[in-house]
């Protein structure tokens, strides 16, 4: 198979600098066609900058990228015609109705007039605005606005849909609806979804492949399952009465691979943690440390992130 056809997005050392600050640093990304691809990282990691360059909103300082086979700088117009974008911040006109937003979008993207009405009806069906479709968007709830924005990004049948933090600021119920919706979309349409997120569960649940980004650099990319498997580690979270002492002592144990302190709790990375809970408690007692609670967890993406960067993803600004 032809390589350029396997990957709908490819970046080549793409870099964005603002003065001395490097927001995105030589990123190489390969996004397989028809996948849901996640760019995962804390706030300020460079996710939005990266996605903006792929959407032609920002010009790279150096390096480049192709989207659907088109160069994001030289063929910006062709790239724009191939993609749909849902921005992190709202991009609606509050005095237009939902339907009018879709109509406007369809004509800006030159959707053929004979299929236009059908497409708009399909999208309205999909995003389930009901009667609200003909009301001004200023009367919409946060979830409806987001659904409208996602739907709008689909009217022209893009090859790639970019979602920048699609569920940011939404309540859990709405968030799950959006997740369901994205999964359904990817299954039913010939479309690749590239999303950024700082919600671990979101990436875990939705994405076929995830790139972990921190301080402008891709640290690791693979499927969520492989990332977790590769970690070969369970996490034991312990609460003790003398955390400093315990941390110091526990580091000397050879079955403890890594130790992280997080406020009053201590996280230990171990292999096959289920066998290690009793010896750990005994070990603490021998050293005069009282274990208040102990918990075993199999790895999640948050742990993957911690193991590669040494910091937590949420709040790790």
């Amino acid at each position: 198979m032809n390589n350029s056809f396997d990957y709908i997005i490819e970046t080549n050392d793409i870099t964005k600098k603002y003065g001395d600050f490097t927001a995105v640093n030589s990123v190489n990304l390969k996004v397989p066609r028809n996948s849901v691809y996640g760019v995962l990282g804390p706030n300020g990691a460079g996710k939005t900058t990266l996605i903006s360059m792929l959407c032609t909103i920002l010009r790279p300082t150096s390096g480049g990228a192709t989207v659907n086979g088109y160069d994001v700088v030289k063929n910006a117009r062709e790239v724009r015609a191939s993609i749909g974008i849902v921005f992190q911040s709202r991009a609606l006109d509050d005095i237009l109705t939902g339907r009018e937003h879709l109509e406007m979008h369809a004509s800006l993207y030159a959707v053929p007039s004979n299929v236009r009405q059908k497409r708009i009806d399909e999208v309205l069906d999909l995003i389930a605005l009901g009667e609200k479709a003909d009301e001004y968007t200023k009367t919409y709830s946060g979830g409806m606005k987001r659904r409208l924005e996602i739907g709008r990004g689909l009217v022209h049948h893009p090859k790639v849909l970019f979602l920048d933090e699609p569920t940011l600021g939404l309540d859990p119920q709405t968030r799950e609806n959006i997740w369901e919706y994205i999964t359904k979309l990817n299954q039913e349409e010939d479309i690749t979804v590239l999303m950024t997120t700082h919600y671990m569960e979101e990436a875990d649940q939705l994405c076929d492949e995830v790139a972990i980004i921190n301080q402008g650099q891709i640290i690791k990319s693979d499927s969520p399952i492989n990332l977790k498997r590769e970690l070969k580690a369970d996490t034991i979270t312990v609460k003790v009465d003398k955390p400093e002492l315990f941390t110091e002592k526990v580091k000397t144990l050879d079955y403890v691979q890594k130790v992280f302190e997080d406020d009053s709790t201590i996280k230990l990375m171990v292999e096959r943690g289920e066998n290690l809970v009793p010896p750990l408690v005994n070990f603490a007692n021998q050293n005069g440390v009282m274990v208040e609670s102990i918990e075993l967890q199999h790895p999640n993406l948050e742990d993957v992130f911690i193991s590669y960067t040494g910091t937590k993803i949420t709040g790790g600004r």
């Binding site: 909103i57 117009r77 724009r80 921005f87 991009a91 237009l96 009018e100 004509s107 800006l108 030159a110």
Partner: protein
């Protein structure tokens, strides 16, 4: 073809916004009427104004039409800044249409809104006792098109340089009010001190107001064909410049 449709789409949005903000239409008619009825009558009775039939009130009528167009066109152009703050400009700028088409669509849309307001004032000519014939009506409407589009271009040009509405007062003090006051909307521009005279002739709106005045009242100081030429050139240059700026500053606007 796609470009024409893009221009039409942007024009259409501008029209929908114009029609839906009813309070804005109301103010845009009431404000000029206040000027005509109160200011016109007030100052008109205090001074002897012999050179125009119908007196001072009739004299400022074309000027107030010019003022209405000026305020509407420039502020609608500047409203692109609000579109930008609400993120809606991004949605338009990432669409696969050229930047000049976006600017043309905006300028024509804003121009249409300003012309509609001018036409409403033409219909209200009886308030100041000016006689309106179909010919004058049509000639004025046609003339208002390049004036409106040119001023919309000024607004768009300002918007491409400004990133927040905090600059709004600056625009008011340094662009809109000087353009209005220097245009000869409120006083005859002949016989002014030299420095003022020069400023008056640098103001593009002077030519618009003078041309309207000649068509409506039959008096003016600049030959009509010169005024019309200046207005057309002004409109073309302003739209061209804002199209250029939107193309050049595309990245900063998104």
């Amino acid at each position: 073809m796609a470009e024409l449709e893009g221009i039409y789409t942007i024009w259409l949005r501008e029209m929908k916004r114009f029609v839906r903000y009813r309070s804005r239409i109301l103010t845009s008619v009431v404000t000029p009427l206040l000027w005509l009825v109160i200011f016109g009558t007030g100052l008109g009775s205090a001074i002897r104004f012999g050179n125009v039939a119908g007196g001072y009130q009739a004299f400022i009528y074309p000027g107030i039409i010019g003022q209405t167009i000026l305020f509407t066109a420039i502020f609608s152009g500047v409203s692109v800044i609000i579109d930008r703050q609400y993120g809606f400009l991004k949605e338009i700028l990432v669409a696969p249409i050229t930047r000049p088409s976006i600017v043309f669509g905006k300028a024509i849309g804003i121009g249409t809104a300003a012309v509609i307001q001018g036409v409403i004032l033409l219909v209200l000519s009886f308030v100041v006792g000016v006689q309106m014939t179909p010919l004058i009506f049509i000639a004025c409407t046609l003339l208002m098109i390049p004036i409106s589009v040119g001023l919309a271009g000024v607004g768009l040009l300002i918007a491409s340089f400004t990133d927040s509405m905090e600059g709004f007062n600056l625009i008011m003090s340094f662009v809109v009010l000087p353009m209005f006051l220097l245009s000869g909307a409120l006083f005859p521009v002949s016989g002014l001190p030299m420095f003022l005279q020069a400023a008056v002739y640098l103001d593009p709106l002077t030519y618009g107001v003078d041309a309207l005045r000649q068509i409506i009242l039959g008096t003016g100081v600049i030959p009509l064909q010169i005024s019309i030429t200046v207005i057309m050139v002004f409109a073309a240059v302003m739209v061209f410049l804002s199209a250029l700026m939107f193309t050049k500053k595309e990245q900063e606007l998104m």
